[in-house]
Each structure stands twice: as structure tokens, then as C-alpha cells.
């Protein structure tokens, strides 16, 4: 948990309140959960473009050689072949193979790295880096200098290129520095919605100017964490603290694609042991047979009533017009198409085990 007694505020807090956002605590931060309403913001993002304040996420800069700094063994993804101006998603594990955090590593220069971590885990992530990096590394936490605005949606390229010529040339999971409002601003083609989108890392104390210039475009509306959660869930992205945590192994979380077993990394031995013995649990998708939605921490049952797992996230899916969710279940029951129940001892509803990807037609790679 956060060591701060009070909720942290992003530089846009007053602007969110002015726009009529509903503010809620999220990972120690006071964040906008919605403005016009989650369903409207969801549709706006899938069809046009939305602006999200994601300044609560943490940013670190590490300078040093990949191997000598120790960075390579702290994270799971392969970085040795990552080109400068590209970024890659992966995890940072504990020795048991549980996930301390999921993160994106950007290669700024051959020996300079920009790491983006979750807002709720900044302190423990910084601690892990400080403990594990060698004396050949320089570590800086730049969270409170770096605001992060996510512009997401099929029209985001058209909107952003009006302010930032050249941004339209960015390929998926690449980034560059652009002159934007007189500053050298890192912009990456990344996101958490399943749509075409960009993440703008701008100076903390000028965040409002960037927010307002992007909001001036009539195709852009603000969106909150509520819509973001529905958008990410429909495309199968995990949320730290739900699908990912220190008690769920990276293999159980299905991070396999983002783990390089050809290199040494913290947690590797535990994961190999688990591979040999069999991974006990698996994250699966759940599609409700009705509009009733699975909810985080509800139980998952067989039709006969045996408990086989727990819901890690759930929501109504505007795309499917049904409840959807993700559950961590006993590997033996992880069969797509299998009928299951979700709910509580008192009240249960029917669902089917499915892929975690509920929405496939996004503009992500357009």
C-alpha cells in the first residue's frame, strides 16, 4: 500500500473536478472514474477519441549497460535486441515467480532506459530496482516530473498529428521525442484500450496546457478509469492487483509471451519448477449468459457446485451486451466452452469459459 497518508493528486485534479468528474481513490491516488458516464466514454473511445489522465503511473529512468546495470535480470522481457525508440511489455518478478509489477521498458538510448510502472506500486517497484541494480546503474524516479496523457481511439492519430507532425509515422510499440508546446516530449504508440492510441509523457507542471490543447479538438472527450477498465477487460489486458499480483505466478497470469526464458531473470528458477511440475491455475475468460456480470472476488463454481476458482475482474461488456470477466481457476477446469457458475453462496449465475479476448476488431494496429 501507499505510504502516503492522504491521496495523491495528479496535476489535473482541479481540471477533473471542474469537468464534473466523479473522483475515487485508486491505488493511493484521487482519480476520475467517470465524466459523462462509463458507457458514453467507452463508446467515444471505441468510435472516436478519448483523453485519459494517467499521470498516477510511475516513471523511472535507468542509465547503464543492460547487463552490467543488472536491469536485464530484473525484468522478464527480452531487452538485448530491443531497438532504440522501441518499447516492450513485461514483468518484474519475485523469487517465487509472483509478479511485483507489470511494466513497459522503453529504450531511450543504447544505455538509457525509461520504465513505466503502475501507480499503486511505485514505492515497492523503486525499492526493487534500487535493491537489484548494480553500482553501474543510475536510477531516477521521475514520477512527479512526468504527467501522462493517453489519447486513445480510432481518430487519435488524426487529432494528434495536427499538434505533433510526424507522430503519424510511429509504429505500434515504438516512440520518439517530438516538439510539442515547445518541449521535447516523449510520445509512444501504446495504450490500454485495444484501440489505436498514443501516450504523451509531458512535463508535470505543464500538464494542464497539454490536456487543454488536446481537449480543444471537438472529436476528443475526457474518459475516466471506469471506461478504461471496461476497455482493457474487453481486449484481455491484465490489471495489476487483479490478474497480476505477487501470489499469482507469471505463468498462471499467462505472461508467457512476455518472458524470455533464454536469459537469466529473478523468478526464473521458480517458473521453470512450475513448468516441470505443472502450472496449477490459469486465467480464463468468462462470458455470462446474461447481462449479469461477474465481479472481482466472487467464486467460480462447476455446475455441480464445486469451487474451482475466483473472479479477478468483471464488468458489463458493451460490445457483447453481456457480463464478462476473468477468473483464476484450477488448470483442470480451464476448458473453453465449459459451463460454469459465478457468484456467491447465496446467488449464482451461469457463464461459459472463453478466451480472455472479448473484443477483436479494435483499431489498435490500424
Amino acid at each position: 500500500m501507499s505510504t502516503h497518508a492522504q491521496l495523491l493528486k495528479t496535476p489535473l485534479f482541479d481540471e477533473h473536478v471542474r469537468l464534473g468528474a466523479k473522483m475515487v481513490p485508486f491505488g493511493g491516488w484521487d482519480m476520475p472514474v467517470q465524466y459523462a458516464g462509463i458507457l458514453d466514454e467507452y463508446a467515444q473511445t471505441r468510435q472516436q477519441a478519448s483523453l485519459f489522465d494517467i499521470s498516477h503511473m510511475g516513471e523511472f529512468i535507468i542509465q547503464g549497460d543492460l547487463m552490467k546495470s543488472g536491469l536485464d535480470r530484473i525484468v522478464t522481457q527480452r531487452l538485448s535486441d530491443l531497438p532504440v525508440k522501441s518499447c516492450r511489455y513485461g514483468g518484474m518478478l519475485n523469487v517465487d515467480g509472483g509478479v511485483i509489477d507489470d511494466l513497459i521498458v522503453f529504450r531511450l538510448e543504447q544505455d538509457k532506459w525509461f520504465i513505466v510502472v503502475n501507480g499503486a506500486t511505485i514505492d515497492k517497484d523503486a525499492q526493487q530496482f534500487k535493491n537489484q541494480l548494480t553500482q553501474d546503474a543510475q536510477f531516477d524516479d521521475v514520477t512527479f516530473h512526468t504527467a501522462k496523457l493517453d489519447l486513445q481511439g480510432p481518430l487519435s492519430r488524426e487529432v494528434l498529428k495536427q499538434h505533433v507532425p510526424g507522430v503519424e509515422n510511429l509504429a505500434y510499440y515504438t516512440f520518439d521525442f517530438f516538439n510539442f508546446l515547445g518541449e521535447n516530449v516523449l510520445i509512444s504508440r501504446t495504450g490500454y484500450t485495444g484501440e489505436l492510441g498514443y501516450e504523451v509523457y509531458c512535463p508535470w507542471d505543464r500538464a494542464l496546457e497539454y490536456w487543454q490543447i488536446l481537449m480543444q479538438d471537438e472529436r476528443v472527450e475526457p474518459a475516466g478509469l471506469g471506461a478504461r477498465d471496461v476497455l482493457r477487460l474487453e481486449v484481455g489486458y491484465g490489471l495489476y492487483g487483479h490478474e497480476l499480483n505477487e501470489d499469482i505466478s507469471a505463468l498462471e497470469s499467462g505472461l508467457n509471451r512476455f518472458i524470455d526464458f533464454d536469459k537469466d531473470f529473478i523468478g526464473k528458477a521458480a517458473l521453470q519448477g512450475q513448468q516441470d511440475a505443472g502450472v496449477p491455475r490459469k486465467l480464463v475468460g468468462l462470458v455470462s449468459r446474461s447481462r449479469r456480470s461477474p465481479r472481482s472476488e466472487q467464486q467460480i463454481y462447476t455446475e455441480a457446485g464445486e469451487v474451482i476458482g475466483v473472479v479477478t475482474s468483471g464488468s458489463f461488456s458493451p460490445h457483447l451486451e453481456r457480463g464478462i470477466g476473468v477468473g483464476l481457476i484450477d488448470q483442470r477446469h480451464a476448458v473453453q466452452g465449459q459451463a460454469v457458475m459465478f457468484g456467491t453462496e447465496r446467488s449464482r449465475a451461469e457463464a461459459e469459459i472463453s478466451s480472455k479476448i472479448f473484443y477483436k476488431n479494435g483499431s489498435l494496429k490500424s
Partner: protein, 128 residues
């Protein structure tokens, strides 16, 4: 926040519109606004008996699941089946098109346990 004058309210933000020994029940504008976009409702069955302040229906918004409690005791005469396909009616029209159930009241005295619109307004102010 809109508060209809002629209704009685509970602390859980349900309303009841009493007409003789029958009543319509639903949730207040404050309740629908707090819940956000409503995506699902599980209605009671006609002829079910409900008790005052006991569960009447379950309701879900995009973000959360919660219960609707019955403002008064009685027997369910009718439910608003339109809500099953279009639960967002509760957001759009909480006091009219978004009604939840019509109840045959078993104890009119129970209305003394409810708040008038003025009392509910004060209750919201003190809670807010």
C-alpha cells in the same frame, strides 16, 4: 439531484408511491446517479412476498453490484419487465419509466418508517 415531492423514501434511496393499498417502488435519482450506468436488474417474481427493508431486486451498474430493498411489505403485483432489456431506463427516468415493481401493501402503518421528500432532502444534505 431531483427529488419527487409526493413520494416517500428510504435511507437506502428507494422511493415508494402509495395509491390506496398498492404502491409503485423504485430507486431515487440520487441512487441512479451514484450507481452510474445501470446494466442489469434481477426483478422479483409476481406473487413473491417481500418484507419492508428486505431485498427486493438486485441491480448492477458497469462498475458494481448492489441490492434494492423494498420500502414496504407486501405481495408483488407486477414488475417492470422493460427493465430487463433496457435497465438504463432507471438512469433516464428513475421516478417514472424506471419503476421497479408494483406491490400490494400488507401494512400501511409501515409508511411511518419512511422519509418525506423534505426529510429525504435533508438526509441527502447531511450525508453529502
Amino acid at each position: 439531484m431531483e427529488i419527487e415531492e409526493h413520494l416517500l423514501y428510504t435511507k437506502e434511496h428507494e422511493w415508494v408511491n402509495i395509491d390506496g393499498d398498492e404502491a409503485y417502488v423504485g430507486i431515487s435519482d440520487y441512487a441512479q446517479n451514484s450507481l452510474g450506468d445501470i446494466t442489469f436488474i434481477e426483478l422479483p417474481s409476481v406473487d413473491d412476498e417481500v418484507e419492508q427493508f428486505e431485498e427486493l431486486a438486485s441491480i448492477e451498474s458497469v462498475k458494481a453490484a448492489s441490492d434494492i430493498f423494498s420500502p414496504m411489505s407486501g405481495r408483488i403485483l407486477e414488475v417492470n419487465e422493460e427493465l430487463e432489456e433496457n435497465p438504463g431506463l432507471i438512469n433516464k427516468s428513475p421516478y417514472e419509466k424506471g419503476w421497479v415493481a408494483r406491490i400490494s401493501l400488507s401494512d400501511l402503518e409501515e409508511k411511518n418508517n419512511l422519509m418525506t421528500s423534505e426529510e429525504y432532502e435533508k438526509f441527502l444534505e447531511s450525508a453529502g
